[in-house]
């Protein structure tokens, strides 16, 4: 009888007793055979599921790119975890995902106090406002007294407060935990204004039953550099994801595309391209991969420009111009250190 009680108590302790050895993230991913990627629960253009349940979007392509780099071109070895805004950081901190590619704004607090590392910026965004056309509002400065719908647990919520405070305007916030509930509340007329990142606004507008009834105001009230995030404390993994990102931008700059990548890898005389695609030097092996890592990545998802155009560009329903997200050579902000 004593033993039975002991057994009960012991079982709790033993249940989690058998500890596998800790390993670096890259080794974990390789052993597991899949990359665990934290993504948005549903944001058209960045991460959403089609009718067959397949994931697609700009952030999804980043997950695929990293998987292709690790698994020699097999971009399907990704396990997607849809995460809400509130869940995303704990999920990464607690090692439930290896990589967080979920339109996450890079801020100092998140970079330093939350134990996270931002890899780079895969989309320069800014917060904007959407209103009903029939309100006849043309500027965000006319929004004093409005009711604003916003998702909880985002930088958006903080920027909103700061903006109205700085311009001496009042507002009534309606703060809801999931973006689809926020959209529904706005559509039902609970709020006059919907605010989120501009890219998200265009996506939300698409989800309205009549998109033409809504307009996005010209003001962008914040800097929202969105990018993939990894855990602090694993430099090798941080470097790997960072250079997959830089590799994608460099590839665009050097004109390497999904179509010509094999040809370039074999025949290009340009030393920059040869280094990027692993014809010269051992950059791939230095970060724990094969030297053809970038060939696999580009073959799987294309370069940054191709990813952008395919998911959010002018030919997609979102119709977003490159703008700040153009390469630095074309007047944008996308700039990558050289592979050298």
């Amino acid at each position: 009888m004593k033993n039975s009680i002991l057994a009960l108590l012991g079982s709790v302790a033993v249940a989690s007793a058998v500890v596998p050895a800790t390993a670096a993230t890259l080794d974990d991913v390789k052993n597991r055979g899949t990359l665990r990627c934290g993504v948005n629960t549903g944001l058209p253009g960045f991460a959403s599921q089609n009718d067959q349940g397949e994931w697609q979007g700009l952030d999804i392509d980043y997950c695929k790119a990293v998987a292709a780099a690790i698994f020699d071109g097999d971009a399907s070895k990704v396990q997607y975890s849809p995460l809400s805004a509130v869940q995303r950081f704990p999920a990464l901190q607690n090692n439930e995902v290896d990589l967080l590619a979920r339109n996450t704004t890079w801020t100092m607090d998140r970079d330093t106090a939350l134990g996270l590392n931002f890899v780079g910026v895969n989309y320069y965004d800014g917060q904007g406002f959407m209103v009903r056309r029939d309100l006849n509002v043309t500027s965000a400065l006319q929004l004093s007294g409005a009711t604003v719908c916003v998702q909880s647990g985002t930088t958006t919520e903080l920027n909103l407060t700061d903006y109205f405070r700085a311009n001496n305007m009042d507002f009534n916030p309606v703060v809801i935990e999931s973006q689809d509930s926020v959209n529904t509340a706005y559509e039902q007329g609970r709020c006059d204004v919907l605010t989120t990142d501009a890219s998200g606004l265009y996506a939300s507008r698409l989800e309205m039953s009549n998109p033409d009834e809504h307009i996005v105001l010209p003001e962008i009230i914040s800097k929202e550099p969105l990018g993939p995030v990894v855990r602090q404390g694993d430099e090798q993994w941080f470097d790997l994801v960072k250079w997959v990102h830089f590799g994608l931008i460099n590839a665009e700059e050097l004109g390497v595309t999904q179509e010509n990548v094999e040809d370039m890898a074999a025949n290009s005389e340009n030393p920059d391209i040869r280094r990027l695609l692993g014809a010269d030097d051992n950059f791939g092996e230095d970060i724990g991969l094969t030297n053809q890592w970038m060939v696999h990545v580009i073959k799987a998802v294309g370069n940054y420009g191709e990813i952008f155009d395919r998911n959010v560009g002018p030919d997609t329903p979102l119709k977003i111009q490159r703008g700040q997200n153009a390469l630095w050579t074309k007047g944008g902000l996308q700039y990558a250190p050289p592979v050298r």
Partner: protein, 497 residues
């Protein structure tokens, strides 16, 4: 003797007169039940109008103006922009997702099979007259979870040596208990069996803290210490076997003793063998599947845990009692949503580096602990209702504490609180809808995710989806409550005054 009978005295039984006109037929029934007093009449008329209005609206919305078929939102939008009723086409198109989530299409038969097995095992258990109750319960309680786990996940679960040793240690305890139950068992050997199993558990605890060498045995990765524990557990089983056999029992006794380790071996084998099923990670599960998995696990875990906690709360040992009280009152005092937040955000922090539970498992742990606390209180109610004479009678018969509980007290107590237990189950089933908030796609969650599909956004999509979800929940809960009423009536054995 002749007697002069006055003519006005009846000579025989006259047929009884029909009741007054005002007391029979439809008008009387109506008057008695609906228009007994002026106030009643007012209430009836008002409620009648309200009921008719509500029923008409419901029918109009749900049937007359509803759209039943269609490929996308166009079907549920009137060209002129007028209002339509329910958009059942949305439910129709998404039904697969509502039931299975994103479970791969080709593998959905596995879910169906698991569900079928569940129904086949539950129905005979629920029908009082069906035979083989014990076997049925064992199949449902032990075999079904393993089969379902293998079916749903695809099996090939990496069971580590530590887990194998732990399961065998538990089996050793059960074996020793069985051996002790047979008359004339040798106490020395029994004691040895118990001791060996206890040492095995201790070794496992130490193995948890200390990392020792690793090697493979039969395909399981053992550490030195966990292997030692495993061997100790086997030795304990052997001791139990001899303790029972030398007692002069037939081979049936030996069979009982050997049963637990054999069952464990089969289970471990079933879990780790490759059946050639494609693995389906839990983040693809969704819809009704997740709702049922969470609810059933919660139900299965809460009953034994609840019984232990209830016994602990009525224990004579102050430390045990205090612990049980604190445990029960703590979990009953906080909302489930904070428990789920805790299991989502804090369990990973509680675990050592490198160990991680997946999201579903963490939610399950939270739900199980939460419902166990409620169950404990229900069962305590039953325990308190058992007259003291029953305890004293059992003790006078020389039964040990656990024998008394198992054979005398618990059967009576549980019978008394069956309605309470089922009510707790119903509450648990409804509470599963909260797992959506921590990111699991249960039935309500999948339905709500369906709202944001641009293909199906119409003014009536949300209402249709929510009504559908409400109906499914209602069906399950109402069914359970009806069954509980049926059992209540059946089990009434004349205690009612």
């Amino acid at each position: 003797m002749e007697e002069q009978v006055a003519f006005y005295v009846a000579r025989g039984q006259e047929p009884s007169l029909p009741p007054p006109r005002s007391e029979v037929g439809l008008p009387a029934t109506l008057r008695k039940n609906l228009f007994a007093t002026p106030l009643d009449s007012v209430i009836t008329v008002a409620l009648g109008l309200f009921a008719a209005w509500a029923a008409w609206n419901l029918i109009e919305w749900g049937l007359l103006r509803a759209v039943f078929t269609g490929a996308d939102r166009e079907a549920c939008l009137l060209p002129g922009g007028g209002e339509i009723g329910a958009c059942w086409a949305f439910v129709n198109a998404k039904l697969g997702q509502f039931i299975y989530g994103r479970y791969p299409l080709d593998e959905r038969w596995r879910v169906d099979l698991a569900f079928l097995l569940l129904v086949l095992l539950t129905i005979p258990l629920a029908i009082p007259r069906a035979p083989y109750k014990r076997l049925n319960a064992l199949l449902l309680g032990i075999a079904f979870p393993v089969v379902a786990l293998v079916l749903l996940t695809g099996g090939e679960i990496g069971v580590s040596g530590g887990w194998v040793a732990f399961l065998f240690t538990l089996a050793a305890f059960v074996s020793a208990a069985f051996a002790g139950g047979s008359s004339g068992a040798r106490p020395a050997l029994l004691k040895a069996a118990m001791g060996l199993a206890a040492v095995s558990l201790l070794v496992l605890l130490i193995a948890a803290a200390i990392r020792s060498g690793r090697f493979d045995l039969l395909g399981f990765e053992f550490s030195t210490l966990s292997l030692l524990a495993f061997l100790l557990a086997l030795a304990s089983v052997a001791a139990s076997l001899f303790a029972g056999r030398t007692g002069g029992e037939s081979s049936a006794g030996a069979g009982r003793v050997l049963m637990p380790p054999l069952v464990t071996a089969v289970l471990v084998a079933a879990l780790s063998v490759d059946f050639g099923l494609q693995p389906v990670p839990t983040n693809l599960w969704g819809g009704l599947l997740v709702t049922l998995v969470v609810a059933l696990t919660g139900i299965a875990a809460s009953l034994p845990l609840g019984i232990l906690l209830a016994l602990g709360r009525r224990s004579h040992l102050p430390a045990v009692r205090l612990f049980s009280i604190i445990f029960i009152e703590f979990w009953r005092g906080v909302p489930l949503i904070t428990v789920l937040f805790m299991s989502a955000f804090m369990i990973p922090l509680f675990l050592p580096d490198g160990v991680s539970f997946n999201q579903l498992l963490r939610a399950l742990i939270g739900v199980a602990i939460f419902s166990a606390a409620y169950m404990a209180e229900v069962i305590r109610g039953g325990l308190q209702a058992i007259p003291k004479g029953q305890y004293e009678g059992a003790q006078a018969l020389g039964l040990s504490y656990w024998q008394m509980m198992r054979l005398v007290i618990m059967p009576q107590a549980i019978k008394l609180v069956i309605p309470g237990i089922v009510n707790t189950f119903i509450g648990l089933f409804k509470d599963t809808s909260l797992v959506y908030i921590i990111g699991l796609a249960d039935l309500l969650g999948t339905v709500r995710r369906g709202f944001s599909d641009p293909n199906w956004i119409t003014p009536s999509t949300a209402a249709t989806g929510l009504i559908f979800a409400a109906f499914v929940y209602w069906l399950f809960c109402f069914g359970m409550s009806r069954y509980s009423m049926f059992m209540e009536r059946r089990l009434e054995t004349g205690h009612k005054r």
